[in-house]
Amino acid sequence: MNSSLSVNSTLTADELLLTDKSTSKLRSKSVDSVDNKSLHSKRHSSRVGSHEHINVDDFVLLDDLVLCNVPLDMDLSRKPAEKDLQQLAPQDRDLSIQLNRLSLSSPLSPDMHRRMDDLVDPLPLSKEKQSVLSVGRPSWLPPKSKEEERRHMQEFEQIRKAAERLERQRRHDAQRVAEKQKARYKQLVVLWEQKILRHWPESLTSSKVKDVWWEGIPARVRGRAWQRAIGNELQLGLESFSKACENARHRLAADEEQRVYSVNQFRDDESAFEVDIVATMPELKLFQRTCPLHQDLLNVLQSYSYYRFDTSYVPGTSYVAALFLLNMNQSFTFNSLANLLDKPLQQSVFGASDSTMLDVFCQTFLHVFRREIPQLMLHLHTKLDIDVREYVHPILRSFFVPMVSHEIASRFMDCYLFEGDCFFIQVLLAAMNHLQSRLYVLDTHSALSVLTNSWQLDDVEKFLAAAKSYVVPTI
């Protein structure tokens, strides 16, 4: 700030605010923007014109008008430098000292300034002024008439009561929704336990059961329902896991004993597990080293790696294994994992077979994508030239675990196991729609990052309803 300004010693302390130059840029900017006329008029009315050399950065005089617009984060505790004080005329020096005393004894801490609402005077009011002030009106404005004040209080009371009513209603509604959900949950538990699981698989075709998995499978039956839906084509028994687990352990021990430092696949897998486990639902603190389910997850991954010795560990296996472990024990997790990853699409995704199924999946997805959201499809695949597999592959092999919360990933699994591969296309489309605004970016890397990191999904019901609405041809 270049202009200089002198102190008008006739102003009362009440109306003055003294600051110094070392406070924030924000303030000087605000002062810059102050109506120049008011500053000029002060300069002209100044009785101590001879002290115009005092830099405005040392003393800034703010009137009420300024106070209305300036963020009040000034540092009141600073004293002006000694030499600056010497440059002042005696009466100004007195004022300066007075003002500094005032600012030092001010009850307003800098913190309070920041929080202060515009209606409150920044400085204590005089008794005379206080006696005429109206409630709820800034002290620098003329007071209201009695009639107006009464009316305002009445209106205020009405608004307050209406807000209270609304709040009560909102609480009441929320409670009713919660009760309804609870009741529905109980119904679903009975439906799954008494009907679906007992009369499997005939019950699945009944009209009462149709689509019921879109509502989510109740937690207490989820594990059993998933096992049933995945099936056991591989004919794995209870002993399968313990045998694989034991053998994996033996191999690890033998490896350790012989100090085999040569590269082998199993060893590679071991380090790959560690990397993946660290990133598996880290917010739950359940699977990482020293956490309660760490050993379980490691057991499952080691056993699976031993069981599928023909392929090396595919990143992402840890996610789906963890999702299973939240709902079933190690042994069933192992069996479900082995059976699920043996399905045609998963074989293709997890590299156990050629990529034909994955290619078919991607083609079908692109076809529906072009039909449903053509602009975004063009943007991603023509403008940014992204290969569809660049995001479909990481998403499919992680079963959406890094993109959504474990609850939502479980809901997806509920539907996937009953709806089949088409459901993944529906989810991808709903995700494209949900992420649309974030996907119109100009570089491939950012677009891929949006797709393969958290989707910031809050309303799973809305999302699933959108997913369900897409018509997808069977693959």
Partner: protein
């Protein structure tokens, strides 16, 4: 190889946040108490080896977060538990009211076949505080446990000075041991009956 086989028992500790679940566990396992409150995230677990009626057992204590946002993980936490501890704060009436919610939530999630037989141990903690601040009288808690009719045991404890802590946990270990020998609790096992007979997964795979 030569040491006698230890029985591994899983115990979950539930209760509202701040009642002292972690402190109780720390007092029992490490004989330590910290004044600082640090909310548990997700779950944590400690193990303690002890002998009950001549049998060597390892208690695996699962300390859960009392906060609501972790309740969706119930199935994973409660699975395979042999005993459930529900803690309340004798100076906090609300935490006592929640005891029944925690108990029913546990039974709900685990689909325990025999609800009345599953052992619960209810602990009224923080009795070291000023008695004038107490809001849950002992007889209130006792009559609740009696009226529930299930397998409920009650103790009042102080994680701070250790009052009743070891007695309570000994009783917990005994209840868990008894329950595991019945082994009629098998939430995961009901689905594919043909496949199962003798699983002892945690035993065979723990290292």
């Amino acid at each position: 190889m030569t040491s006698p086989r230890r029985t591994l028992l899983k115990v979950v500790i539930l209760g509202d946040s701040g009642v002292g679940k972690t402190s109780l566990m720390n007092q029992f396992v490490n004989h330590r108490f910290s004044r600082e409150y640090k909310a548990t995230i997700g779950a944590d677990f400690l193990t303690k080896e002890l002998e009950v009626d001549g049998e060597a057992i390892t208690l695996q204590l699962w300390d859960t977060a009392g906060q609501e946002r972790f309740q969706s993980l119930g199935v994973a936490f409660y699975r395979g538990a042999d005993c459930c501890i529900v803690v309340y704060d004798v100076n906090n009436a609300k935490s006592f009211e929640s005891v029944e919610n925690w108990r029913s939530e546990f039974l709900e999630q685990t689909s325990s076949l025999n609800n009345n037989a599953f052992p619960f141990v209810i602990l009224g903690n923080q009795i070291d505080k000023d008695p004038s601040k107490r809001t849950v009288p002992l007889n209130h808690a006792l009559s609740y446990c009696k009226n529930q009719g299930g397998n409920l045991t009650h103790f009042e404890t102080s994680a701070k000075d250790g009052t009743n802590v070891s007695i309570a946990f000994e009783s917990i270990a005994r209840s868990a041991l008894e329950n595991s020998s019945h082994e009629d609790y098998a939430s995961d096992l009901t689905g594919s009956i043909s496949l199962l007979n003798n699983t002892n997964e945690s035993g065979s795979c723990a290292c």
